[in-house]
Symmetry: C2
Subunit: 331 residues, 2 copies
């Protein structure tokens, strides 16, 4: 029997369409679709030796006299840092210059690695860079929201092979971010606690959607997953902003993130995916009602007209089965 499920925070609904349900292993990606990449690519702007093809580093981690990770301004940025944030009318419409800061995290010098196949140290470097740049950008001024994300593979919207993440800082908090904040605020005013902490308590009680629990993190396929294998990593200690993550948590995040991506990599044969860190707007760094988390969305299905019209996603897998499948993958 199909069912509607509501996302506790955003209040959006999904349809879990069990009648045309697919078994998790039906999402296995075809091997021939992935061509092996070289260790080094001469034309790649992110490979060592080609540093002059990118702007100078904003942050880097070095080892034995060479860089292990670099953060550079995005040369093809959608937003620019020299503009104003003033909003103005064009007739009845509202617009603003495209002020913003866009950076690229070059996660490793090695062209053909990815989160699943990196040394743990490289993943640690990556999340360390996330935190350093997040903190630095949040003190820049004019910045209200910092989004850290990783697009992996063509279906996830990237054409650059070299392992990298992106950071975009904007002077705007859009409704897509604000609406869940209103809802979690309202829940806090009603129940007196963080709705995310309550959700985690419930997930821990039900257990069926939990993929893994570590000292500091809970990994789960959410109750109202919008698509197959949507997976989230929540910090168990209440923190509204990613900026507040401790060193110990950060190091554990690296291994939990790698292990989770590895489960997808092994279980589904290296699917394309996006992941995003959803953190509070910079001015809400320390609020009781928001809770940062990382969401991984493997690109296995195509949202279509119904999703565009209603925002109700039709998901043809049970999150409970996805979690069970992922739990069973030996990493």
């Amino acid at each position: 029997m199909p069912e509607f499920r509501q996302n506790m925070v955003s209040k959006e609904w999904v349809i879990i369409a069990t009648e045309r349900a697919k078994r998790p292993d039906q999402f296995l990606q075809k091997k021939e679709e992935k061509k092996p990449l070289p260790h080094y690519s001469q034309d790649c702007p992110f490979c060592p030796g080609n540093e002059s093809k990118t702007p100078p580093s904003l942050f880097s981690i070095e080892k034995n006299g060479a860089w292990s990770l670099r953060v550079v301004p995005n040369k093809f940025a959608a937003l620019q840092s020299h503009l104003t944030t003033e909003r103005r009318h064009e007739g009845r419409f509202l617009k603003a210059d495209g002020f913003g800061i866009a950076e690229v995290v070059i996660e490793t010098p090695i062209h053909n690695r990815t989160i699943a196949t990196m040394e743990l140290e490289e993943v640690r470097n990556t999340v360390t860079a996330y935190r350093e740049r997040y903190i630095s950008l949040s003190t820049t001024g004019k910045i209200d929201l910092i989004t850290i994300f990783r697009n992996y593979g063509e279906r996830a919207g990237t054409s650059l092979e070299h392992p990298h993440s992106q950071i975009i800082a904007t002077p705007i908090v859009p409704p897509h971010v604000r609406n869940p904040l209103y809802q979690s605020q309202l829940a806090f005013d009603t129940f007196g606690d963080c709705i995310y902490c309550g959700m985690m308590e419930e997930e821990r009680r039900q257990q069926t959607r939990v993929v893994e629990e570590t000292n500091y993190f809970l990994v789960l396929c959410p109750f109202a997953s919008r698509s197959p294998f949507e997976t989230r990593i929540y910090p168990k200690i209440h923190r509204s902003s990613f900026a507040s993550i401790s060193n110990e948590e950060l190091m554990e995040l690296a291994s939990v993130l790698q292990k989770t991506i590895k489960r997808l990599y092994i279980g589904l044969n290296d699917p394309d995916y996006n992941y995003v860190i959803r953190s509070a707007p910079t001015e809400d760094n320390d609020v009781k009602y928001h809770h940062w988390y990382l969401v991984i969305v493997p690109k296995l299905t195509t949202p279509a007209g119904f999703e565009i019209g209603t925002g109700i996603y039709i998901n043809t897998t049970l999150p409970e089965e996805c979690a069970e499948f992922l739990r069973g993958i030996a990493t």
Copy 2:
């Protein structure tokens, strides 16, 4: 210079990223990607002679003793019509049985036609079926929202080749639909008129994004287009619900819709697309603050991590250039 633009109704923002802008003709689809389809396919459940492979018709249009169009229940429906609408808690989570009605509009008996290549009569039949089923479903009870949409091509999420649209009726009005309704209500309470009517007035004044204006419809690429060639068809006469469309308007809609899709078909070489009719919830059939419209979203780009995180779409084309390009296509 890149710019932020706000959708007047939803208040969501887009980034028009002119620095990495593409010219409209760079979205031309490759010919070899489209294999020609047969006029008739023996295995197709929607082709004549295979009527037993679908449930009996709910509505049909006949000509010379054969059907020209059929509407049938969706055999692989994500929702089912025999369930209840009761909502209940599972711990802290909210869920409901998957009650709903899902139908398929088989637009023509001819396997290899599409909106752009149909006889005008076939498009007229299609929009007539939309209205008939919309009205019929809205009196069914337990139905709060009716979504009519067409997924065309694999990138738009369909694997069935035979020309068809879908209708899904749900007992739920999700935030994705409700939030813009709140906004347009608020605008009505403030300014005393329909925000969509005001937007059309502004677009008509500025003219740069107007693709076509007919007696009853305004076709435009919206100011805050989320993706290249997003195109909308708005009725000029204020009507909150698609159910209220007059016969004369309906016949004009058929030709305007066909002409608009033809512009995309010729100009971009038959791109995949979704279109959706956004109509008011059934109980708001006659409100002053909502205005139905049809939105066409060609599938030319891939939303990625930033879009997932913020709802801010990065659009690499100017809507003004898309409108100019579409105006220039001889249909």
